[in-house]
């Protein structure tokens, strides 16, 4: 008798998930979704993924987890996400790097391998000097660089990183030659600037806000087409007559070929999470500009960026 009961109970336990599966089969999502972050825990990319996930989880009703797969300038994680099945259970975090990876030879993946969801935020590149530097304006900087060709040392967060490429674009636009000094990330370059070991850095304007507010550093100009919301008094290089627009942008995408209904379900959840207070607070706290751009428009934007870097990177890196 007892044995029979146990067998029955086991049978029910085993069969129950089968019925559950059958009932919800048609409706996406039925299992947990992972967002693949192309960088280590702790950076701006990771923070972006971890802040958007809880809001999506609430709407989709399944766990949305963040999976860090760093390496090769983002190439490892982004190509992993691109190669995932196009069923919506793997979302790729797509920063500007997705437009740079292929030309830099870090992985064989472009924005075309994705059906992009949306761009969520941007932050501009900027030329930053010590607060007591005699360089005050964009013109000062260029005049100084022209009288000392190849001698003005400009730090960046690493060779081939977006901020290094920004400095190269500025170099071209202003017809100057700089001494690029790569560091292992933005923080060491900021430190070297504060210690007076280099003349300037090209970095994210959002990343140095603490040092700007404390009066240690000063932004000469931002390299985006429009002024930066966090420091609206800082002019753009464009205002001084140099045609340049470099933004670091962050976005998301699912593998190309993801069906419409799945795609729309994810996009709707992401939009709601993006509008949530928690997410907007994160953007504000970090100085990132909210920059929602979804679907086709973002796809077009990402490909335009790809074209720019595809031409720039081989020229700058020499291969």
């Amino acid at each position: 008798m007892k044995k029979g009961f146990v067998v029955l109970a086991l049978a029910v336990l085993i069969a129950a998930p089968l019925f559950a599966e059958g009932a919800t089969e048609s409706k996406f999502p039925t299992k947990s979704i992972s967002i693949v972050c192309q960088a280590n825990p702790g950076g701006s990319s990771d923070l972006n993924c971890r802040t958007i996930a809880p809001g999506m989880e609430e709407i989709l009703g399944v766990p949305v987890t963040v999976e860090n797969r760093p390496g090769a300038g983002g190439g490892i994680g982004i190509s992993y996400a691109a190669a995932a099945p196009a069923d919506g259970y793997v979302i790729g975090h797509l920063p500007v790097d997705v437009a740079q990876i292929k030309p830099a030879g870090n992985a064989d993946v472009t924005p075309e391998d994705f059906r992009v969801l949306a761009r969520v935020s941007t932050h501009p590149a900027a030329i930053i000097v010590k607060a007591d530097s005699p360089i005050k304006t964009t013109e000062d900087f260029i005049a100084y660089a022209k009288s000392n060709p190849g001698k003005v040392s400009v730090g960046n967060s690493g060779t081939g990183a977006v901020w290094h490429l920004a400095a190269c674009q500025f170099e071209q636009a202003a017809d100057i030659t700089l001494n690029h000094i790569p560091f292992e990330g933005a923080a060491p370059s900021i430190t070297a600037l504060m210690g007076g070991h280099i003349d300037a850095i090209c970095a994210s304007a959002a990343e140095v806000r603490a040092q700007i507010q404390s009066g240690d550093l000063r932004i000469v100009c931002v390299l985006s087409a429009e002024r930066f919301g966090l420091f609206p008094d800082v002019p753009t290089a464009k205002e001084a007559g140099y045609d340049i627009n470099v933004l670091c942008w962050l976005g998301f995408g699912v593998p190309a070929g993801t069906p419409d209904d799945v795609y729309n379900t994810i996009l709707d959840a992401m939009r709601t999470s993006y509008q949530s207070e928690a997410y907007q607070n994160m953007l504000a706290a970090n100085g990132y500009t909210p920059a929602w751009l979804e679907g086709e428009e973002f796809q077009k934007y990402a490909m335009e960026e790809f074209e720019i870097y595809n031409e720039l990177i081989p020229r700058v890196l020499g291969y």
Binding site: N40, P41, G42, G43, D46, L47, R50, T51, P54, E67, N68, R69, P70, G71, A72, G73, G75, I76, S79, A104, G105, N106, A107, K151, S153, G158, T159, G160, N179, I181, P182, F183, E184, A187, P188, I190, T191, A192, M194, G195, G196, H197, I198, R209, A210, Q211, Q213, S214, G215, D216, A278, N281, M282, A285, N286, L317
Partner: protein
């Protein structure tokens, strides 16, 4: 806010609960090879959306402090550093515990981690601004020379054969060149494989060499018959078959006050060095412990025993990595620049609470700064209490049969190396490093120098090139800058010193004869 209110807010049940939770979690993360403090803090960062500042920061600081402390536990008992910061603790710790004093070694780790941690906090409280300003004087030439000084430790950890140590050290340096060159972006030895672009990450290699390699060695030395008849033997001998670590009967369980006091100068110097190393962005507890160990080996009275199971040496490394936390916090709080990878995330947490680190934090949010200091002190006191309790549990594990421990280490090493980057490649790296490490130690080659070279190799390379790119662009830059010159002299002392001492001794003996 007055002090009374601040203290009561730190000691409120809610804050204490989160802090204790952080510390317990940190102990687990720290003791597990492959899980790092950075990972723990990053994953719990979103907590700051829902929890009040003092509780959220208490939890994050708890993880940070206790993970660095607990990394030493696995370093001592298993010879596997739980976090990179306890690399240097593997040089003396396992020798002490295998010598029959596991409880004593764990006690040293707990007590000196807390002493180092508290000295670090004291430096943070009284001198955070000057320390941070000093850290800024570290330019590329200084980074180069401090890394060179750390590399000179290769000789000291080589054990019996310096030649073998240097051989594997250079092998490590060669390994560190794999991947994208840090200055020009040229891909070296990648064979067209994307996975090799970032080179080998050193944690899987470290876990492989120290964890898998050591476990394989232990297994190879365990007679098969003993393993097979564990139960029978146990019954017959009424003891376990574990000869991995055996507490001696009546072994010393803790150091006497006099013994602790005898280490005062080494510990004080170590803690201060570590605060500065911690404050310099890009260098953390691992380099602090390596540099302190090397420094103390040059000058300590007990220098003969460093690397051979010196209690003082273990104490130095345990104090060093925890003291570096105080240093890392100075640059983070006063300049808004992270001193290491964990403080980078803590900056994010502070930002979430709308506290921007920097001088303004000290003038506008004085109460928050005091709460942070208070939380750090509370974390260290809790580590002392919970750590001593934990030691009793930890040391029980050593009573398990050696075969169980070794196989468990191998399993955790492989899982841990996957966890770092969710990369199967890293698991293979760990496995290959383990097998390689097994043969190395069979052949009498030390494994420490390889890891040392992997930590410091790229730092020397990129900063050397960077120094050359900046004016004046000649080697003189290393000798005209005072900090860099001092570091070069120290490096020379630790390289040539032992040989000179030997020569002097010999000539004295000859005279006497």
């Amino acid at each position: 806010m007055d002090i009374g209110l601040i203290i009561s807010s730190i000691l409120s049940p809610n804050v204490l609960l989160f802090t204790v939770a952080g510390i317990l979690l940190g102990m687990f993360i720290g003791a597990m090879p492959g899980l790092s403090a950075t990972m723990g803090v990053a994953i719990l960062l979103p907590l700051t959306f829902w929890v009040e500042p003092s509780a959220g920061l208490g939890m994050l600081l708890g993880i940070y402090n206790s993970a660095i402390y607990a990394g030493g536990v696995s370093a001592i008992l298993l010879g596997v550093p739980g976090t990179p910061a306890s690399i240097a603790s593997t040089f003396d710790g396992p020798i002490i515990s295998k010598g029959g004093h596991p409880t004593l070694a764990l006690w040293i780790n707990t007590v000196f981690s807390v002493i180092g941690g508290l000295i670090g906090i004291l430096c943070l409280i009284i001198a955070s601004f000057p320390i941070a300003r000093f850290a800024l004087r570290f330019g590329p030439p200084e980074y180069t020379t401090v890394a060179l000084f750390g590399l000179s430790m290769m000789v000291a950890v080589s054990g019996k054969s310096v030649a073998k140590g240097i051989f594997v050290g250079f092998l490590g340096l060669a390994l560190s060149t794999v991947g994208m060159d840090p200055m020009n972006g040229v891909k070296r030895f990648t064979f067209g494989k994307f996975i090799l672009i970032d080179g080998f990450s050193f944690v899987p290699i470290m876990i492989g060499l120290f964890g898998v390699g050591e476990a394989l060695k232990q297994l190879s030395e365990t007679p098969a018959v003993k393993v097979r008849f564990v139960k029978k033997l146990e019954k017959e001998q009424k003891t376990t078959v574990s000869d991995f670590i055996q507490e001696e009967k009546g072994a010393q369980k803790r150091m006497t006050l006099r013994e602790v006091w005898a280490t005062k100068w080494s510990i004080l110097v170590t803690s201060i060095i570590s605060v500065f190393v911690g404050a310099i962005p890009g260098t953390g507890g691992d380099i602090a412990a390596i540099v302190s160990w090397t420094q103390c080996k040059n000058f300590s009275k007990d220098k003969e025993n460093y690397g051979k199971g010196s209690r003082e040496a273990l104490a130095v490394t345990c104090a060093a990595n925890n003291a570096s936390i105080g240093g890392a916090m100075t640059t983070m709080l006063t300049l808004g620049i992270p001193g290491d990878s964990v403080t980078a995330i803590l900056i994010g947490a502070l930002m979430m609470y709308n506290y921007t680190p920097g001088p303004l934090l000290f003038s506008e949010h004085k109460d928050m700064v005091i709460i942070l200091f208070g939380l750090l002190v509370v974390c260290n006191i809790l580590i002392l209490l919970l750590g001593n309790l934990g030691s009793k549990i930890f040391s029980k594990f050593t009573k398990l049969p050696r075969a169980w421990i070794s196989t468990t280490i191998i399993m955790f090493s492989l899982v841990g190396s996957y966890a770092i980057q969710n990369s199967v490649f890293d698991v293979f790296v760990c496995l290959v490093a383990g097998i390689f490490g097994f043969f190395l130690s069979k052949g009498g080659f030390p494994t420490g120098p390889i890891v040392l070279a992997l930590i410091l190799g790229e730092m020397v390379e990129s900063n050397f090139v960077r120094s050359m790119m900046l004016p004046p662009g000649t080697y003189s830059t290393f000798f005209v800058r005072p900090i860099s010159l001092v570091l070069i002299i120290l490096t020379a002392v630790s390289l040539i010193g032992p040989a000179v001492i030997k020569l002097v001794k010999k000539s004295k003996e000859r005279k006497e004869a």
